[in-house]
Each structure stands twice: as C-alpha cells, then as structure tokens.
Amino acid sequence: MSLVKPAMRGLLAKRLRFHLPIAFGLSLVAAAGFKYTVTEPRKQAYADFYKRYDSMKEFSAMREAGVFESVRPTGK
C-alpha cells in the first residue's frame, strides 16, 4: 500500500497565511471597539463637563469647605 507523502516544507508559511489575516483583523476590531466604547465617550464626557464648568464657583465652594491652606474660608 502506498501512503500519501506528508507535507515536509512550508508548514509555517501555510499557518501564517491562515492566521495572520485573522490576527490583524481581530486586532483592528479590538482597537476600534476600544476607541468607540471608551475613548470617544470619555472625550465627550470631558467636553460636556467643561461646557458648563464655572471655575470661580467651584473654587469658592472648595474654599468654603476649607480644603485650601493658602486661602481661608470667608468669614474667618
């Protein structure tokens, strides 16, 4: 009985031809997923926060709470 000679060469190349596109594709999907689930919402959150941010109001609130050492709360 004659058996088929198994593949002796090009084994890594064959594996890479199959797996590398999948690897690249999955990496791109992961990066895109992270961008649109994490970074874009985070950028939007920061934009929204600073749209209605009054730094002087926040400063005086913090000053009244007494967390600063350089300025005391008003009324002391």
């Binding site: 985070r42 709470a65 007494g66 967390v67 050492e69």
Partner: protein, 246 residues
C-alpha cells in the same frame, strides 16, 4: 478648620461642616457593620474554612474507599524507585547484599541490560515482558513464526501477555489520585485559615484609626470637597445640589 491631620475627635467646626444645607444625611452609601474590623475578619474566616475542612473530610473518605488501588499504585512507584537505585557498577551488589542476609532489602535491578517498562509513550519496550520462557511458551513462540491465522484467540492473548505486562487500557486506568490532591489542597487551605485566624488574634497590631467608620466618612467628605475626579470618577457620582449620591 480642615487640615490634612484632622483628628477623629468631634469638634464644633467639624459638626458644623458635616451638616449640609439639608438635614444631616449619611455621607456614604455602603453598609456599616456593627463589629470592629478584626472581629469582621474573624467572622469571615469562621464561615470560610469549615467548608474547606468539611470538603477535605469528604474527599479523604472517598479516597480511602479506593485505598487499594491508590496504595498499589503508589507502592509500585516507590518500589520502582528503590529498585532502580543500582547502577551498572552495582550489578553484583545485589548478590553481595543477599549473601549478607539483610532483611527487607529488595533485589536491585540490573541497569546494564535493557529493561521492560509500561509507558504510554513507549509502545515497544526494550525487551519482552517474559524473557524466561517455559517449554510450553517456547512451543507457542515457534508456532508464532508460522501463519497467524492458525493461532487461536487464547494463544494470541497468551503471546500478548508474554510480550507485554499491561495493555494500553490497563495503563490508562484512572487512579483516583485526584481526590487525594484536592483533599490535600483543601486541607492545607483550611490549616492556613486556622493559622491566619490565630494570627489575627495574637499577632496583628491594633488597626489604625483610619479604618473606623467615622474616619472613613470624614475622608469621603473631604474627597468630595476637594472635587476628586469630578469628570468621570468619584465626585462625578455625587449630586452637589441635593447632597446625596446620584
């Protein structure tokens, strides 16, 4: 006035600053336990490792049911270890030791000749299992040289057992060792739990004051006053107008 080193003793300014424009509400939303933290740890440990010891007791009783196969396997392994101690130079030492009449010493295997082994990764060992053949075995071996169709089923099985000790199915037989392994794991985890419990009572120093609930509350309030992570993090979850968590 709040500084970094505020003491936990109540003062007038503290109680004034703790009250917002609304009636005093709980600053923190997590539940407060009535026990001190060291008692908490002890209670958690008391509920955790009795199941471990219970599991170990069950598994050790299960493994003791199969003690026969267990001991047979481990005894076989230990005997194998002992018998392989001799080297090529010691091939004659077994006869010397036997002549001295030492009691309970197993005869050492001659390591200078090929040995038989039952191994899953060695399908054809270096020598047949039975190498001293009786007359009946010899005649069967002669018959084996002819056409195999003339051999009966029992003769084929006899020839197989002459060549090999165990079949692959017998080699792969489950041993139940895993029960001892899991039992040992749970036992030592439970033992470690006992050790840690003893340590919490006799070894640990007293807990720092920063673990107390009042201190934690003051800490949370100070973090909110400082607007820690106001965009997406800590202070973002606090509603400053209503004075409560969102």
């Amino acid at each position: 006035m709040f500084t970094c080193t505020v003491s936990p003793t109540r003062s007038l300014s503290l109680s004034l600053s703790l009250s917002f424009h609304s009636p005093p509400t709980r600053v923190f939303s997590r539940s407060v336990s009535v026990n001190s933290p060291s008692r908490d740890i002890r209670i958690k440990l008391c509920t955790f490792f009795p199941p471990c010891i219970f599991l170990f007791v069950i598994l050790s009783s299960l493994s003791s049911c199969l003690r026969k196969t267990m001991l047979h396997v481990t005894a076989g392994r230990i005997a194998g270890l002992l018998s392989r101690r001799g080297g090529a130079a010691f091939s004659s030492s077994s006869s010397r030791m036997a002549s001295h009449g030492h009691v309970g010493v197993t005869e050492q295997a001659d390591m200078s000749v090929p040995l038989y082994c039952d191994r899953l990764d060695t399908p054809l060992p270096d020598r047949p299992y039975k190498d001293t053949l009786s007359a009946a075995d010899e005649s069967l071996k002669q018959k084996e040289k002819g056409p195999w169709n003339s051999l009966s089923k029992e003769e084929k099985l006899t020839l197989y057992r002459m060549m090999f000790n165990e079949t692959y199915a017998e080699m792969k037989k489950p041993t139940g060792e895993w029960k001892t392994v899991w039992g040992g794991i749970f036992f030592f985890i439970g033992l470690t739990g006992l050790v840690v419990l003893w340590q919490t009572h006799y070894v640990y120093p007293p807990q720092p004051p920063t673990f107390e609930d009042e201190w934690q509350a003051m800490q949370v309030k100070r973090m909110l006053d400082m607007r820690v992570n106001p965009v997406e993090g800590f202070s973002a979850k606090w509603d400053y107008e209503k004075g409560q968590w969102k």
